[in-house]
């Protein structure tokens, strides 16, 4: 046993860190060099990876944009009270003042129907159509901000029930409702995005594995020869890991570019839509840190895909 160990020639004295790093550097650029010989094939694979990865990335960015939009909306539990059509401005003002005194109401403000119409005319683009109307179709609206306390829900529910009994009020609308629905939808979307990310990530892993498998077959002779002259599996695997790295790296970067270009294209129409709602909302681009995370994710997929294929191939080869 002892003699067996002594006989194993591990080139300890010959080994040094500098030449090890040089080998790495060499395979790093050698893999790039190989791609430069077949740039079309490389770009095809990278494009497939980039497009595949841009879908979940785009989805995640859209969700973060929507989340931001919902955050911009005042989280106070505002209640809109639509008054009946025949209520005059005077009555409305009185009601507003009355409601402002209510113990559970913090603030009440009136949106005068004339003012609302003017605003609507100005921003909606339906100005002419509205002018053609004989009467103002809009009702007076009172915006209520309830007193916030620990026991919000019950207080607010009680308040709404009370308001609904008022004869002057046509409709009580809780602004919170749709916001909660939006948040619910966003949560579903987020879950869906994670699922899509996982699935498409797996797809990228398979694309890269398959590409590396083809490269492996093309370089079978080279692998056999290097094995014969004493290459370790690590030495043989290294260039393929770098290939996987380059696929993942290039694919990830291009995916981020695709997402940001798409956002730039959508930004114009979306901000004019936001303007329509009186909001200065603007789409946010994929942030730098997110982009870096995304590229790292892509690189990890590339390296993992390559490693799985090559180590399987080599373990089948060596008896």
């Amino acid at each position: 046993m002892a003699s067996r160990r002594r006989n194993i020639q591990r080139p300890k004295q010959l080994f040094n860190v500098r030449s090890y790093l040089l080998i790495h550097l060499h395979s790093f650029f050698a893999s790039l060099g190989r791609f430069s010989k077949t740039p079309f094939n490389f770009m095809m694979t990278v494009s497939v990876i980039a497009i595949t990865l841009s879908l979940p990335a785009g989805l995640l960015v859209s969700i973060s944009n929507l989340t931001e939009l919902s955050n911009q909306i005042d989280f106070n539990h505002n209640i809109s009270l639509f008054l009946k059509q025949d209520i005059t401005q005077k009555q409305a003002k009185a009601l507003t003042a009355n409601l402002a005194q209510h113990p559970h109401v913090e603030q009440a403000s009136l949106i005068d129907k004339e003012a609302a119409l003017l605003e609507f005319e100005e921003y909606s683009g339906f100005g002419l159509a509205i002018k053609a109307l004989p009467d103002n179709p809009l009702p007076h609206v009172i915006l209520l901000t309830p007193q916030t306390s620990n026991d919000q829900t019950t207080v607010i529910t009680a308040l709404i029930a009370e308001l609904e009994k008022q004869p002057d009020i046509q409709l009580v609308q809780m602004d919170m409702d749709w916001l909660e629905r939006l948040n619910g939808l966003l949560q579903i979307a987020q879950r869906a995005a994670s699922l899509v990310t996982a699935l498409l990530g797996l797809a990228v892993l398979l694309i890269i594995s398959n590409t590396i498998r083809l490269e492996l077959q093309n370089r079978k002779d080279e692998i056999d020869i290097t094995r014969l002259v004493g290459a370790t599996p690590a030495f043989i695997t290294r260039p393929f890991l770098y290939s996987g790295f380059w696929y993942g790296f290039s694919g990830g970067i291009i995916a981020c570019l695709i997402v940001n270009i798409s956002i730039a294209l959508l930004d114009g129409p979306s901000s004019s839509l936001a303007n329509l709602y009186g909001s200065s909302f603007q789409l946010t681009f994929m942030s730098f840190s997110h982009a870096i995370l995304w590229v790292i994710f892509s690189v990890l997929l590339g390296i993992t895909g390559a490693w799985i294929v090559v180590s399987r191939y080599l373990s089948e080869l060596e008896s």
Partner: protein
């Protein structure tokens, strides 16, 4: 240096490639391995290079049992052997220099040392000045010399050659054989598989003759 003790190799298909082979090659010895195709020559060489493992018996290289070598140590065992093939097994997309340097790069030698050893090996086989050529631009005999330079560049204690003169004319074959003799003279153990009986007899070294997996003849000293 090399010892076969009752070695048998049976493939999973049931074919028995080697039957109960025993022989020994001492340090610095040169020997030929002959036999018809299918006699088991290649299998025997593959056992030494740990490309295959014996099903019975022991193959000892430098007192190390190759049959029991852990997978992770196989590459290091192969570095002790310089292998030469009939079809050269060169990398055609790399220069002569890069081909010969391969074992040194794998061993992790520094650039300076690699340059020095590759030059020396190419000089030895008579190919100096052709470092930057591609193998395909050289003749068959020259390509075989590249293969030999690659096999000896890291100064292994043993050289294995599988039909090294198979595709060469008699004059070139003789030159290649002389090259092996030169390596042998500086202490390298050499084992050459060949069916060029005339050339082998002319050279007068020990001959191991295989027939249908059995060792028939073991001429010369043991």
């Amino acid at each position: 240096m090399l010892q076969f003790i009752n070695v048998s190799k049976r493939y999973p298909t049931g074919a028995e490639a080697l039957k109960n082979i025993s022989f020994e090659l001492s340090h610095g010895e040169m020997a030929f391995l002959t036999g018809h195709s299918g006699a088991g020559k290649s299998t025997l060489l593959k056992l030494i290079a740990v490309l295959e493992r014996s099903t019975q018996g022991q193959v000892l290289l430098d007192k190390q049992n190759l049959g029991r070598l852990a997978k992770r140590n196989v590459p290091y065992a192969r570095r002790k052997i310089g292998m030469i093939f009939q079809d050269h097994r060169l990398l055609h997309d790399r220069t002569v220099f890069d081909n010969v340097a391969l074992p040194l790069i794998i061993a992790g030698l520094n650039h300076h040392e690699v340059k020095r050893l590759v030059r020396a090996a190419l000089d030895k086989v008579g190919l100096s000045g052709k470092e930057q050529r591609y193998p395909i631009t050289l003749s068959g005999g020259e390509q075989q010399r590249i293969g030999i330079a690659r096999a000896v560049v890291n100064r292994p204690p043993m050289i294995l050659a599988d039909e090294p003169t198979g595709n060469l004319d008699p004059t070139l074959s003789e030159e290649i054989m002389q090259l092996f003799e030169q390596f042998n003279q500086v202490g390298v153990t050499v084992l050459i598989a060949s069916h060029d009986i005339a050339l082998i007899q002319q050279m007068g070294y020990r001959t191991l003759q295989l027939s249908q997996g059995e060792l028939l003849d073991n001429h010369g000293q043991s």
